[in-house]
């Protein structure tokens, strides 16, 4: 992405980042569940400039049949970026990156679902990135788990996912676009908030051991903040409490 220039400094004298956040703050977030009529479960999420729509269908019959597992349900996760979602037009269709994200996200989501309750069936998860501004894989997982809950799929816990990173030798939470592009490291994780079990962990860049531990801790903190929003989004729908 060439439109956004590398800033001279990522963190100013007051300790604020390029978008005015403190190092341990997440971007403003909005979650809404059940937005699509035809899907079994759906969720729309906005995290900063990221705009993502997810739809869940199922459990339903598996086609093609040979993919079915006789003792459990399978999950199909399709991460798709719209060609207009990034500042330089992306070639439509799945590329190397989309396949990788779909695979790791699928595995992250699978670990929260009670798959054995629906043998011989499939849970289809579709993620459409409408606008992208760093951290879409984590944000889509957050949305996908809300959509799964909305579809009435039995799960151990929701999945909350958030990235932390390193810019100007400081560990920051929820990296934004410029920090992602020109920063030193980026560490997306996904957790089940109840037990803090990690279901996704990736890293791009270099971190020392101490920094890594600090980054994980910070990312977990972000995940818990997201979890509260997920909870609210689902609970407020039926009168709240």
């Amino acid at each position: 992405m060439k439109t956004k220039q590398k800033p001279e400094r990522f963190i100013d004298e007051e300790g604020k980042r390029v978008d005015g956040r403190r190092p341990d703050e997440i971007r403003p977030i909005h979650i809404e569940s059940g937005v699509l009529n035809r899907a079994d479960g759906s969720c729309y999420i906005e995290l900063g400039d990221n705009k993502i729509m997810t739809a869940v269908y199922g459990p339903r019959e598996v086609h093609p049949r040979h993919l079915a597992e006789p003792d459990r349900a399978i999950v199909r996760y399709k991460y798709n970026m719209a060609s207009f979602s990034v500042s330089e037009r992306k070639r439509p269709g799945p590329g190397r990156r989309d396949r990788e994200i779909s695979k790791v996200s699928k595995e992250a989501l699978e670990s929260a679902i009670f798959l054995e309750k629906y043998p011989n069936s499939v849970i289809d998860v579709f993620v459409e990135i409408i606008e992208s501004a760093a951290g879409t894989r984590a944000t889509s997982l957050t949305a996908a788990s809300v959509a799964c809950a909305d579809a009435g799929i039995p799960m151990r816990d929701l999945i909350a996912s958030c990235a932390s990173g390193k810019v100007d030798d400081t560990i920051v939470l929820d990296v934004n676009e410029v920090e992602d592009n020109y920063g030193q490291a980026d560490l997306p994780i996904a957790i089940m908030p109840k037990t803090e079990e990690i279901t996704l962990l990736q890293m791009d860049g270099n971190l020392t051991r101490n920094e890594f531990e600090k980054a994980i801790k910070l990312a977990k903190k972000g995940c818990h903040q997201l979890y509260e929003k997920q909870k609210q989004a689902l609970k407020n729908k039926y009168g709240g409490n």
């Binding site: 339903r60 011989n120 499939v122 809950a149 039995p154 816990d157």
Partner: protein, 218 residues
């Protein structure tokens, strides 16, 4: 109906209680496994789902739609991830081999009873019995199976009210498919009322609300 608390998957809903439907237990704590409403009965705690897919259960009477025909079976879609298999022998009429299409063709609907469900949730169905038959007229609408009890109501209060007010024949399958037969505008009325019930299933005083709604429609 009392106000019920909404719970989400993984939320702790109780301690030292018996885990009921849609819950799981870990070190004496009980957690919800789905998105739904918390419901406590005596010392059992369960979660009532908001939406769900129909899972075939022995003894359920459901409305199925024929999707496939084999040499001696029909396969019916029962609004579930799993199809129901209806063997020729359990059709009420005598059928010559190779004559299956004469009785039920693809797209036909029938009220069937689930007689057996195996480990892989493949269901076997029966069409020989009271109330069980092929559907030849009327329309079918669909709701999420968890709201079936709401459409029927306590002691069938809702369903009998619907029948009385609209003069329609209504059959509610356990899988959320509802067969309505009657005059055209009455069918529309019932369909709309059922949609209302589905949307407001979590609210109380629904029977009276639907009743006034139907009265105003006249």
């Amino acid at each position: 109906m009392v106000h019920r608390e909404t719970v989400i998957p993984g939320e702790k809903i109780g301690k030292n209680l018996k885990p009921g439907k849609n819950t799981y237990k870990e070190d004496n704590n009980i957690y919800s496994s789905i998105y739904g409403f918390k419901n406590k009965r005596n010392d059992t705690i369960e979660v009532l789902p908001i939406k769900s897919k129909y899972i075939p259960k022995k003894g359920d009477k459901v409305i199925g739609i024929v999707t496939d025909i084999s040499f001696n079976n029909w396969f019916l879609n029962i609004n579930s991830p799993y199809d129901a298999r209806l063997p020729v022998s359990l059709h009420p009429e005598y059928i010559e081999s190779g004559d299956l299409k004469q009785h039920l063709k693809i797209g036909d609907a029938a009220i069937i009873e689930i007689v057996e469900v195996d480990k892989e949730l493949q269901a076997d169905a029966n069409m020989d019995g009271k109330e069980l038959k092929k559907i030849t007229k009327g329309t079918i609408t669909q709701i999420t199976p968890t709201k079936v009890p709401r459409v029927i109501g306590k002691n069938a209060s809702m369903i009998s009210m619907l029948k009385r007010e609209t003069d329609c024949q209504i059959y509610v399958g356990q899988n959320g498919r509802i067969w309505i037969d009657g005059e055209k505008q009455n069918i529309e009325k019932v369909t709309k009322a059922i949609q209302m019930i589905e949307q407001e299933a979590h609210k109380s005083g629904l029977t009276n609300k639907i009743k006034t709604y139907l009265k105003n429609q006249k």
